[in-house]
């Protein structure tokens, strides 16, 4: 008896102290730890540099920069205000719109589903640019219209305020919340709601008391995604906040890095604080969700009942229309109007309008031509590499029997905690320190994109991989198919819609990327985000608007093509 006990104890100990780490886990793990760890190490050493701020590597270490940072707590406070306020508003919009689209009988739901998704790929740069022309206190179109109609010579809205920044952040990030919460709503078990109705609860009470709590994991997941995005958000605070003396961490960091002499250590210390804030948010969400059941968003394919809201339907339609108006029609309409102008002020004198700005940005200005081509190539490259890498990682984390799967998943999601601006600086230092001649090449930009968007790609592919039943592949194997045939005839066709959707998402986010590209693009590697930003900085409103419209057009074409391919794939 004691012999048996001893041997089982030994086996248990052996299991505890031996690691079964297979190549499908350790190879990506080592690659990721290297690609993330080295820049992080450089940022860390810079943050603790207490000597010459320009010394690289640092010669003296200390906490001086964190002490200095304590004199700028307003940057961190403002970051939390914008990220917290933007997330709260964005989640509210997301819950309401997801519920309207997926759980009510409102007419035109399919069309709204498409229209509501568009603002996200258009991106914050387009949003900030358009709203600076819509909501500027004196010259903004909304205020001009208000003054013309009311005769009151004051502004109705001012987008150059914390509230304005929160509003623009929220409406351009809300589509992500609609997507995440909507997906959960579509898979929700309707029995619980039916129970609530049987016990006499009204529709709104059921939605509030049953549907919403069941959505908590999805809501928190969307909130976390939005919060981390907004903590690192660069374009909107820079374009709407800087000139009104409103500094969050990113636009302050940009000035610190831009200034001469640059204050790398203070910027790096600020970056570390942002990384810590994001990590705390992730930890808090995990803590809230710990022990809760995710059964409502499992692989089971429920068809939840859609509710006829009666006369309230028209209010819901108005809400949906208002969102599309504020996030898509007004911004794009304003940019198109501005792109036809000859001066900085939008006028409605049609004969003075011109197409010259489009001719200029598309044909006369070599930077934008190069930027368009490079952005397209980077979009395709990021989509392809990101999908391949994310698929392998997703298969490894969900299918492999190797140890270290959870660690691989956590490391894969780590870039989400890095504000892209500070990651780009660390990444730039890394490629300059490596013996490889990567600096100033598109490959360097591509690698940075793949890393920063990996969490997004992994999230997409993980959701697809987990839904594919292993039994199908096992059946094929029993029937004599080899691994290549199984991949070609079973796995890939099943993965295809998810692959396409993730590829399209990566393509769009890389075409609209700006904060990482600002530090990584060079004279021969211009990309659209920094090109638009530079034009905004020094090129005048008509031309930058034309370029933003061109960028939006490219993104919309990509969206349409991929959507039709995905539809065909699903039908097939």
């Amino acid at each position: 008896m004691s012999v048996i006990a001893d041997s089982s104890t030994e086996r248990a100990l052996a299991r505890t102290y031996s690691f079964n780490v297979r190549p499908d886990v350790w190879i990506p793990l080592v690659l990721l730890i290297g690609a993330l760890g080295f820049p992080l190490f450089l940022i860390l050493t810079s943050a603790f540099n207490a000597g010459d701020p320009e010394a690289f590597p640092a010669t003296q270490y200390g906490l001086d920069n964190f002490v200095k940072l304590s004199g700028h707590l307003d940057w961190i406070k403002n970051t939390l205000i914008v990220a917290g306020g933007g997330t709260a508003l964005g989640i509210t919009i997301g819950i309401v719109l997801a519920w309207i689209i997926h759980r009510t009988t409102m007419p035109g739901r399919k069309l709204f589903e498409l229209l509501i998704a568009i603002p996200y790929p258009l991106g914050p740069l387009v949003g900030a640019l358009a709203w600076s022309q819509l909501g500027a206190p004196r010259d903004g179109l909304i205020n001009r219209f208000f003054t013309a109609v009311s005769g009151i010579d004051t502004h109705l809205i001012n987008v150059y305020t914390p509230l304005g920044i929160i509003f623009v952040e929220a409406i351009f990030e809300a589509p992500v919340a609609v997507l995440i919460i909507g997906a959960a709503m579509q898979r929700m078990d309707p029995a619980l709601e039916e129970c609530s109705s049987i016990f006499g609860s009204g529709k709104l009470r059921t939605a509030w008391k049953v549907t919403l709590p069941l959505m908590l994991p999805a809501v928190l997941s969307a909130a976390l995604f939005m919060f981390t995005s907004m903590i690192g958000s660069f374009a909107i605070p820079t374009m709407l906040g800087t000139s009104s003396r409103f500094y969050v961490s990113t636009n302050a960091m940009y000035v610190l890095l831009q200034g001469y002499p640059p204050n790398y250590p203070l910027a790096a210390a600020l970056g570390l604080v942002l990384i810590a804030m994001t990590a705390i948010a992730v930890w808090l969400v995990q803590r809230v969700l710990r022990g809760r059941s995710y059964a409502v968003i499992s692989g089971k394919n429920y068809r939840p009942r859609q509710v006829d809201m009666g006369w309230v339907t028209w209010i819901l339609l108005a809400i949906s229309l208002l969102y599309v108006l504020l996030s898509l029609i007004l911004p794009m309409g304003t940019l198109i109007l501005a792109s036809f102008q000859t001066g900085n002020q939008i006028n409605f004198n049609f004969p003075t309008w011109t197409l010259r700005n489009y001719i200029y940005v598309m044909f006369d200005f070599p930077t934008t031509q190069q930027a368009i081509v490079n952005s397209l190539m980077l979009g395709v490259g990021t989509g392809t590499l990101g999908v391949i890498f994310a698929t392998f990682i997703a298969i490894a984390t969900h299918r492999s029997r190797s140890d270290g799967r959870r660690l691989l998943e956590q490391v894969t999601m780590l870039p989400q905690a890095f504000p892209r601006l500070i990651f780009a600086v660390g990444f730039l230092w890394m490629i300059l320190a490596l013996p490889l001649r990567l600096y100033g090449t598109l490959i360097a930009v591509l690698l940075a994109y793949v890393i920063v968007f990996l969490p997004l790609a992994y999230r997409g592919m993980s959701g697809v991989v987990v839904q594919i039943d292993k039994a199908l592949e096992e059946a094929a194997r029993i029937s004599g198919a080899n691994a290549a045939r199984i991949a070609r005839t079973i796995t890939l066709p099943l993965l295809r819609p998810g692959l396409l959707a993730t590829w399209a998402l990566l393509f769009m986010v890389s075409v609209r990327e700006i904060s990482a590209s600002l530090f990584l693009s060079g004279p021969n590697t211009q990309v659209l985000g920094p090109a638009i930003f530079s034009f905004w900085d020094s090129g005048g409103m008509p031309r930058v608007s034309a370029l933003a419209v061109v960028q939006a057009f490219i993104i919309l074409i990509a969206l349409t093509v991929v959507r039709s391919m995905a539809n065909r794939s699903v039908k097939a």
Partner: protein, 359 residues
């Protein structure tokens, strides 16, 4: 005394002999060495070699559209291709530092708003000396003390600016101290601390204005912009009343666009910086870089550039339409160059400017 005695007793030591011999050799060779260095610095670049080298990479802090237009003219005239990247000094220098550290540089020619930066780079041996044919058209204040390291390609004067649609002429500030009037609270715009022109402004004004001027100006919540284009844009749109310091070419551009803008030149003077051009010693396109510099500083190039941008040339033989006669202006230019270049002075400026603009 002992040494003197030894010298008398033993004559010259071996070391002294070697030193004396080397000094003699250097003094004999000096004219030749100097003339050789001069000859290298003035050696005409080859257009064919420049074309074979590939596009010249021009780093600058100017308006991208203006530089692109000028590069088009440059390529048409010389046949040498060129590309540009807009980098303000604060962006360019860290990038350059990192590139020098890695031994890989991407820029060839640098056009900047901060002559102190080029002078620092020259002292570090990072600038290539090339003396263009027209160097004598530039006064001593507009080029490096040893000609050929950097030369001023335009003079960036910075008056105040406002739009008559939003500010009446009689109410507009006339002096620098008028900017302290609370009526302009939140309505004055400057470029941020990354701009060389802001450093130039602070450097020349700190000694002619009251010591607490910038602190008091901070009470009026001035706004920081990353470019003078944005300042001009907000002035024209009525979202900013006063440009505290606006590059004068913005005025020319606004006038060309028939905007009712006015400039203010306070009696005490207006800040002004030299915008120099220089070639990096690590240039991968030395022929193209020299041809570019030669063209930019030539009479034709100077007219072309300053006409495109609407700015003052450092050459007295160039006049640009709409600009007030430069001779009538009291320009305050940084003259104490060693002080201007000191890192601690810059750090002092960055701290004051960031505080003033709310960062």
């Amino acid at each position: 005394m002992k040494r003197k005695d030894e010298f008398r007793r033993k004559g010259l030591s071996r070391r002294q002999l070697l030193l004396a011999g080397s000094a003699g050799a250097v003094s004999l060779a000096m004219p030749h060495v100097v003339s050789r260095a001069y000859a290298q610095a003035t050696a005409a670049p080859s257009v064919d070699a420049a074309k074979a080298e590939g596009p010249v990479v021009v780093w600058h802090g100017d308006q991208e559209a203006d530089v692109v237009e000028f590069l088009k003219v440059f390529t048409e005239k010389t046949g040498v291709p060129a590309v540009q990247q807009r980098l303000l000094p604060g962006q360019a220098l860290p990038k350059l530092e990192a590139e020098f550290r890695a031994g890989q540089t991407s820029g060839d020619v640098y056009l900047t708003s901060d002559a102190g930066i080029l002078e620092n780079l020259r002292m570090q041996g990072r600038m290539l000396r090339y003396i263009p044919k027209d160097i004598d058209a530039y006064g001593p204040n507009y080029r490096s003390s040893e000609p050929g390291y950097w030369t001023t390609y335009y003079i960036n004067a910075g008056p105040m600016m406002y739009d008559l649609r939003y500010v009446k002429e009689e109410e507009a500030p006339k002096t620098w101290l008028d900017l302290l009037d609370p009526r302009w609270k939140g309505q004055i715009g400057f470029q941020n601390s990354a701009a060389g022109t802001s450093y130039g402004l602070w450097f020349v004004m700190k000694d002619v204005l009251p010591k607490d001027f910038f602190d008091n100006l901070g009470q009026n919540n001035p706004r920081a912009y990353s470019s003078s284009t944005q300042i001009a844009q907000d002035i024209e749109r009525g979202d900013l009343k006063i440009g505290g310091r606006v590059s004068i070419f913005q005025y020319t551009k606004s006038v060309r666009n028939k905007q009712p803008v006015k400039t203010v030149f306070p009696e005490i003077g207006i800040p002004c910086v030299n915008q120099p051009v220089g070639i990096f010693s690590t240039t991968k396109h030395p022929n193209g870089a020299k041809i570019f510099t030669e063209f930019l500083l030539s009479k034709e190039g100077q007219f072309s550039w300053n006409n495109i941008q609407g700015s003052y040339s450092a050459r007295p033989d160039i006049q640009i339409e709409h600009l007030p006669d430069i001779k009538t202006l009291k320009l305050l230019v940084p003259v104490d160059f060693p002080e201007y270049m000191k890192p601690e002075r810059r750090r002092e400026f960055v701290a004051i400017w960031n505080k003033m603009t709310g960062l």
